[in-house]
Amino acid sequence: MSTISASGLQRLKDRVAIVTGSSTGIGAAVAEAFGREGAKVVINHLGEEEAAQSVAERIRKAGSDAIVVEADVANADAVSQMVESSHKAFGPIGILVNNAGIYPRDYWDTMTLEQWDRVFDVNLKGCYLCSQAVCDDMKTAGYGKIINVSSIAFVSGISLVHYGSSKAGVVGFNRALAVALGPYNICVNAILPGAVKVDREIELDSAATREATDKGAVAAQMIKRRATPVDMVGAFIFFASRTSDWITGHCLAVDGGMTRY
C-alpha cells in the first residue's frame, strides 16, 4: 500500500502545498504523498518539531522540498506568519489541506466550555483562518485547491459532541467556501475519513479500548480491514491534482463503506 502514490507520475510537480497538522497521522501521510508527487510542502505542526522535521526529511529524500513551520491554526497571527514563511521558501500557495484537528476524549457529562471552544477553534476556525490567509494567492493565479478534512462523524454522529459538531461545521464551511471561491476557479472539497488507525490512539487509549475500536471499525465497515493514514492519501492527491478540476463543494467519504455517504 505504501507504494500507491510512489508513482513517478509527478501529478503535483512544482505546486506549493500547505498541509496543516502534518507532523503525524493523516497529515504526515498526505504531506509525504504530495512530496512524492513533486509538490513543495509546508509541514505545519504545534509542539511536535521532531516528528515534523522527520516528515520533511523523508520528502527531501524522495527528491522534493519541504519546510517545517510551527503554528497554531487557531491563531490568526501565527497563521499569517506561516504563510509568510511559505512565500519566502516556495512562493505562492496553490494547495491548502486543512487537516489540523484535535479529537480530545472529553465526554458529554463532564465537557467544559473551554474544551468545546478549543475544539471549535482548531477544527473549524482553523480552516477559516488558513483558507483566508492563502486564498489571495489562489485568486491571483486563477486556480487553487482547498481540501478540508471533516469526518464521517458528520454523517453518523459521535459521542464526542464537540468534535462531531465541529466536523459538521467543516462541511458547511466547505460548501460555503466553494460558493465564495468558485468564480476564481478555486475548488474546495472535503474528505470524510472513517476510522483510521493513528499513533495517537496508542498514546491516548488503553489497550482494551484500542481492541474494541479495531473490532468495532471492522464490523461497521464493508471493507474488512483497519485503515491506516496511507489508505487516505489517494483521495487527497485526487482532489489536489488536475483530474478533479470540475469538482467543487463535494464531500467524499473514505471510510471502507462505514457510512455509504
Partner: protein
C-alpha cells in the same frame, strides 16, 4: 507508471459521451477495455479504433444490458479476449425522454429495465470474477438529479435507485474486497470535439444548470474521466459505498 496496468474493464454504453471518454482514459492507463454498445455500432467501433491507434487494447462488443443472455455473452467475450474482469463501469442508460405530462407506464418500465436492471445484470455477471480475484471495482453512473430532482420522473427515479443499489451492493461485496461506488455527473455536454457553437442548442434549463454551477464551464466528458480513473485505481481501495458528484459544484453534496 500507468495506474490500471493489467486490469480488465467493461464500460457499458461506451460508444459515445462519458462512456467513450472513460474507455479511452482506462486504455491509456493500461487497462484492457471492453467497449460495449447496444445501438451505436459506429461510435463504439470508432472508440475501439482510437484506443488501438493509441497503442491500447480493446474489443468492441454489442450487448443490450437489459438482456441477461446478451450480458452473459459479453462477459464470455471479455474472458476469451482478456481473462477475468476486475473493473465494471455501469454507464449504459437511457437519457431523459420527457417530463411528467408525457410519462407513460411503458416508458417507465423501459427506463427501469435499462437504467437499473441493466446495472444489476452486469454486476451479477462479473462479480464472481471479482470474488475469485479477491479484488474488484464497480463504478455506477448515477446523476446529480438524485440530489436535485428533475422533471423527467422516470429517469430521476432510476438514477436515485442506483444510489440505493450502490450502497446495498457495497455492503454485500465489501467482505470480498470489492469496492462499489457511484459517480454523479452534472450536466455533461457532447463530445470533447463539440465546440461551444454546438451548445447553442442547449435548452434553457441547461443554461440554468450552468448558471447554478460554481465553475461556469460547460461540462465535457474529459472533465469527468479523472474521477473514474481514481475510483478504478488502487488509490481508492478504501473508498466504497460513496457518491462522488462531478458537477462543477452544482450540488455541493
Amino acid at each position: 507508471m500507468k495506474r490500471l496496468e493489467n486490469r480488465v474493464a467493461i464500460i457499458t454504453g461506451s460508444g459515445s459521451g462519458i462512456g467513450a471518454a472513460v474507455a479511452e482514459a482506462y486504455a491509456s492507463e493500461g487497462a484492457k477495455v471492453v467497449v460495449n454498445y447496444s445501438r451505436n455500432q459506429a461510435g463504439a467501433a470508432a472508440v475501439g479504433e482510437r484506443i488501438a491507434a493509441a497503442g491500447g487494447q480493446a474489443i468492441v462488443v454489442k450487448a443490450d444490458v437489459s438482456k441477461v443472455d446478451e450480458v452473459r455473452r459479453m462477459v464470455e467475450q471479455a474472458h476469451e479476449a482478456f481473462g477475468p474482469v476486475d473493473t465494471l463501469v455501469n454507464n449504459a442508460a437511457l437519457l431523459p425522454m420527457g417530463g411528467w405530462e408525457s410519462q407513460t407506464e411503458d416508458r417507465w418500465d423501459q427506463m427501469m429495465e435499462v437504467n437499473v436492471k441493466g446495472y444489476l445484470n452486469c454486476t451479477r455477471a462479473v462479480c464472481e470474477d471479482m470474488k475469485a480475484g479477491g479484488y474488484g471495482k464497480i463504478i455506477n453512473v448515477s446523476s446529480v438529479v438524485f440530489i436535485q430532482g428533475y422533471e423527467a420522473v422516470d429517469y430521476t427515479s432510476s438514477k436515485a435507485a442506483i444510489v440505493g443499489f450502490t450502497r446495498s451492493v457495497a455492503g454485500l461485496l465489501g467482505p470480498n474486497n470489492i469496492c462499489v461506488n457511484c459517480i454523479l455527473p452534472g450536466l455533461v455536454c457532447g463530445g470533447d470535439d463539440c465546440e461551444l457553437d454546438d451548445c447553442e442548442n442547449l435548452v434553457e434549463e441547461h443554461k440554468k444548470v450552468i448558471e447554478q454551477q460554481l465553475l461556469k464551464r460547460v461540462g465535457r466528458p474529459r472533465f469527468v474521466t479523472g474521477a473514474f480513473v481514481f475510483l478504478a485505481s488502487h488509490e481508492s481501495d478504501f473508498v466504497t459505498g460513496s457518491c462522488l458528484a462531478v458537477d462543477g459544484g452544482y450540488t455541493r453534496y
